[in-house]
Every structure is written in structure tokens, then in C-alpha cells.
């Protein structure tokens, strides 16, 4: 096997190896540097956006309400999540789509047309 391991620098030169590697690395770095800069600036950009939007009372203008992120269950500890899940099992609307279907938990947030259709038979008109 050692015989085929003859390294030829000439091939590298012919194949534009070094400029190719440098170009490639430069572009990869520039892409990820830009991303790094963007995500570093993002929190401040969002703050400024909120300040711009705050005087205007139009609630739709802000991309999302400034939710209390600290209460986000996805970031709580597993133990808290387990407890939350337990409560969810007992409290959320539980409904069956068909005869042989597995039980699903449905949160109250609607998500477009498909989620709505199967439940139409059970729909509560006071909704």
C-alpha cells in the first residue's frame, strides 16, 4: 500500500489546491462570522424594535407579545415539567377522533385548518 502513497505536490499545484482551500475556508468563516455577529446583535435589535413599537398601541405590530419567557415550560427543570405534564393530563381537553384512535391531548391554541376539521363534530358552539 505504501507504493500508492506517493505524494505529489505538483498535483496540488495543478489542482489549485491551496487557493481552493484558502478560498473555501475564508467563505466558511465569513458565513459563520456573519451569523455570530447577527445572533450577538439580535437581542439588542429586538429591544430597540420593542422600544420603537411600544408607543404605538397596535398590538399586532409586535411580532410576538413579550411573553414571560422565564415561565416557558420547555426551559424549566425536568421535575417541574413532569409535574406540569401530569396536570396537563388531567386538565386539558381530552377527546377522541374516532373509534380506534389513540387518545390525544389538545392544547387550546388552534393551528390552522387541519387541526380544526376533525373536531368539528364535537365542537362546542359557545367556543
Amino acid at each position: 500500500m505504501h507504493s500508492i502513497l506517493a505524494l505529489s505536490w505538483q498535483n496540488v499545484v495543478d489542482g489549485n489546491g491551496v487557493p481552493l482551500a484558502l478560498t473555501g475556508l475564508a467563505i466558511v468563516f465569513s458565513g459563520l462570522v456573519l451569523i455570530a455577529v447577527f445572533i450577538a446583535a439580535l437581542p439588542r435589535l429586538l429591544q430597540q424594535w420593542d422600544r420603537l413599537m411600544a408607543p404605538r398601541p397596535d398590538p399586532a405590530a409586535a411580532p410576538t407579545p413579550a411573553a414571560p419567557e422565564s415561565a416557558d415550560p420547555a426551559t424549566a427543570s425536568p421535575v417541574v415539567q413532569a409535574a406540569l405534564a401530569w396536570v396537563a393530563v388531567r386538565e386539558l381537553e381530552v377527546f377522541r377522533l374516532g373509534d380506534q384512535q389513540r387518545l390525544t391531548l389538545q392544547s387550546h391554541r388552534r393551528s390552522g385548518m387541519w387541526r380544526a376539521i376533525p373536531s368539528l363534530r364535537d365542537i362546542d358552539p359557545s367556543d
Binding site: 484558502l22 410576538t64 380506534q100 387541519w114 363534530r121 358552539p125 359557545s126
Partner: protein, 375 residues
């Protein structure tokens, strides 16, 4: 260094046109509307992202776009351009649709027929604006307010307009809560909007099983061109209602429809490259689409008032607006407007009947247009 210079023109920035930039903004608007306003997010997010993807400039030699044979998007778009994805979506929709409200309200089915007036008047308009008959047919179907139907027919009749037609159809479907209310209020009196309707009766399991089979036979015998769409819709519904194929219905209404929706949305969005999309034709198509939705809404409402001339149990004419399909958004709009006038008036169940009938109606219309215009 030479290579870096050679690489520069292949970057996206180098080739970015104003058209691309505009379309990218349009895509971002779609995504924003979907997330912030919750307008048809399941379709607007993939389509919006697809519009962004489709307007990234790239060098000619690289097969990246929807129209470049061999590219990834080309293969995904194949399911759109050959009309395969829309029937698969109908299979999933059939497997989640409950026709009970329609089965218990047969006369409301007619409202789903009346609202298809939007399709046919728009065709006349499109012809007047110098579109060819094939193009006019494809544009008219926007008024059917059914994304998969519109994509299917456009792929058959006028593939070069598919992107504009699909984007117009989904845009207006998302905008149903904006477009319909003024027309509905304009064409109805307060007294009419206050009409209460009887609660739908219980529908037996046998009716629900027999319906998809017999309705399919009726539609297929009248307009065979609709069997690709309606065959799938009713097969999906039969799988749901038969009681012995629940696991198939489950996969059709989850994995299958979700996967196809992502791929369809992404590739339809990506087909709106600025160079082919930003044309006066596209603007006309958007204009005709808007008119189409308005005519469809008005036709449904007015036909309900017309039916009331002969009926003892009056129909609340608002319900007619649900005949445009755009399931279930237009039914929700009916409920909302109804309760604005009389908070105790719940019309959602009744509105679902013309709503699903409108899906069948526009699929029949697509079948008719296909056979009349192509043969």
C-alpha cells in the same frame, strides 16, 4: 485570490435583482402573517420560506431551482407539476373531514354550488383581459378557494401560471377573515343575520359510510375529470368512517398530509422566481383572484336569500358565504359575523355544510373545466 474572485459572481448577493429582493420580502411577509396573525400557518410558512428560497440568485451552471432538471427542488416540484401532491393532500383532508353536518342539512349543499359562480364569472373576466381560454380556466379556479384544486387544475391547464395562481389562492384563503365580512354585511339585513337555524340532527354511522361511496359515484359520473381529486377525498373519508381502516386514515391525516404539505408548500413557493413571477400577468391574476373571492362570497349569500323565498325554515344568509370553502376559515367568519349581530346565534355547525360542499363543488368545476378546455 483568483479563486475568490472567481467565486464572487457565484454568490447570491452578486446576482440579487430588485425583483428577487421584493419577492424575498413577500416571502417574509407570508411567514410573518402566518406566525403573528395565525393565517393558514400550515401553508403560509412553507410557501413563504419557499418564496425566499426560490429567489436566492445562483449561477446558471448550478441546478438549484425548481425549473432546473436534476435539482432537489425539481424533484420535489415534480409532485406539483404532475398534479400528484394535490390528490394526496385531498386524501388526508378526506381522512379528517366530518361530513355529518352536511348529511344532516342537504339543502345547504346548494350554497356550496352557488358560491362556485365566482369561478365562472372570473373566467369571463380573464378572457376579457386577453388571457387564453386555458389560462382563464386556471385563473378562475382561484375562486374555488381550494389550494390543492387550484394547483391541480393550473398544472393541467396553464403550468406557466402555476406559481401566481397558487400564491394568489393561498393568499386570499388566508385573507378570508378580511375579504368576506364587508360583503356579507353589505348584502344582508340585520334581521336576516339574526335568523337562528335548527341544530343539525344526529347522523348514523351507516350514512357516514355510504356517503363517500355514493357521492363519489355521482361526481365521477358527471365529471370524470374530478376523480383524481374527489376519488382521493372520498377514499380518505371512507377510510375514516369505515371503522375498520382507522390506522390507514390516521397515517393519511398525519404523516402523509404533513409531509406532502411541506414539500408542496416549499416547492410552490420556490416556483415564484422573480424573473417569471413579477409580471403584469401576475398582478392581473391577483386582481382577478380578489374579484373571484368577492363574487363567490356574494353569490353564496344571495343564493341563500333566493332559497329563502321558497323555504319555510329560513336559512341565515350569512351561511351562504361559507360556500366558498376555504375550510374552515369561512365557516368561522360566518359564526363570528353571526355573533356580532346576535351573540346567542351559533352558526358554525350549519356553516360547515356549505363549506365542505364547496370543496366538492370546486373539484367538480375543476373536472369540468379540464375536460371542456383540454378536449
Amino acid at each position: 485570490m483568483d479563486l475568490l474572485i472567481q467565486f464572487a459572481p457565484t454568490t447570491g448577493l452578486a446576482g440579487l435583482t430588485w425583483g428577487n429582493a421584493i419577492m424575498i420580502v413577500v416571502g417574509l411577509v407570508f411567514i410573518t402573517l402566518a406566525i403573528v396573525k395565525d393565517y393558514e400557518p400550515l401553508l403560509l410558512v412553507p410557501i413563504g420560506f419557499g418564496i425566499v428560497v426560490g429567489n436566492i440568485p445562483y449561477s446558471d451552471g448550478m441546478p438549484l431551482g425548481v425549473y432546473d432538471e436534476g435539482s432537489v427542488l425539481y424533484y420535489l416540484y415534480f409532485g406539483v407539476s404532475q398534479g400528484v401532491f394535490p390528490p394526496l393532500i385531498f386524501l388526508g383532508i378526506g381522512a379528517m373531514t366530518d361530513f355529518s353536518t352536511m348529511l344532516s342539512n342537504p339543502k345547504l349543499v346548494l350554497l356550496g354550488a352557488a358560491a362556485q359562480m365566482g369561478i365562472f364569472l372570473t373566467i369571463i373576466g380573464a378572457l376579457a383581459l386577453d388571457f387564453t381560454p386555458l389560462e382563464a380556466g386556471a385563473i378562475g379556479i382561484i375562486g374555488g378557494a381550494d389550494g390543492p384544486t387550484a394547483i391541480f387544475l393550473a398544472a393541467k391547464l396553464a403550468p406557466h401560471l402555476l406559481g401566481a395562481i397558487a400564491v394568489a389562492a393561498y393568499s386570499y384563503m388566508a385573507l378570508v377573515p378580511v375579504i368576506q365580512p364587508p360583503i356579507m354585511k353589505l348584502l344582508t339585513t340585520e334581521a336576516e343575520r339574526k335568523i337562528h337555524m335548527k341544530a343539525p340532527r344526529q347522523v348514523s354511522r351507516r350514512e357516514r359510510i355510504l356517503f363517500p361511496i355514493c357521492a363519489f359515484l355521482i361526481c365521477a359520473m358527471i365529471a370524470p375529470g374530478s376523480i383524481a381529486l374527489l376519488g382521493m377525498l372520498f377514499l380518505g373519508n371512507l377510510l375514516k368512517e369505515s371503522g375498520v381502516t382507522e390506522r390507514l386514515a390516521e397515517s393519511a391525516r398525519h404523516a402523509l398530509i404533513d409531509i406532502v404539505t411541506i414539500l408542496l408548500g416549499l416547492s410552490v413557493g420556490a416556483s415564484t422566481q422573480a424573473s417569471t413571477f413579477l409580471t403584469p400577468q401576475s398582478l392581473l391574476i391577483f386582481g382577478l383572484g380578489a374579484v373571484s373571492f368577492m363574487i363567490a362570497t356574494a353569490s353564496g349569500v344571495l343564493f341563500a336569500k333566493f332559497m329563502n323565498l321558497f323555504l319555510k325554515d329560513k336559512i341565515n344568509p350569512l351561511v351562504g358565504a361559507a360556500g366558498v370553502s376555504a375550510v374552515p376559515d369561512s365557516a368561522r367568519v360566518v359564526q363570528m359575523i353571526g355573533r356580532q349581530t346576535d351573540p346567542s346565534n351559533f352558526l358554525l355547525m350549519q356553516a360547515m355544510a356549505p363549506n365542505v360542499a364547496g370543496v366538492i363543488g370546486s373539484a367538480i368545476a375543476a373536472g369540468v373545466l379540464w375536460s371542456v378546455l383540454v378536449l
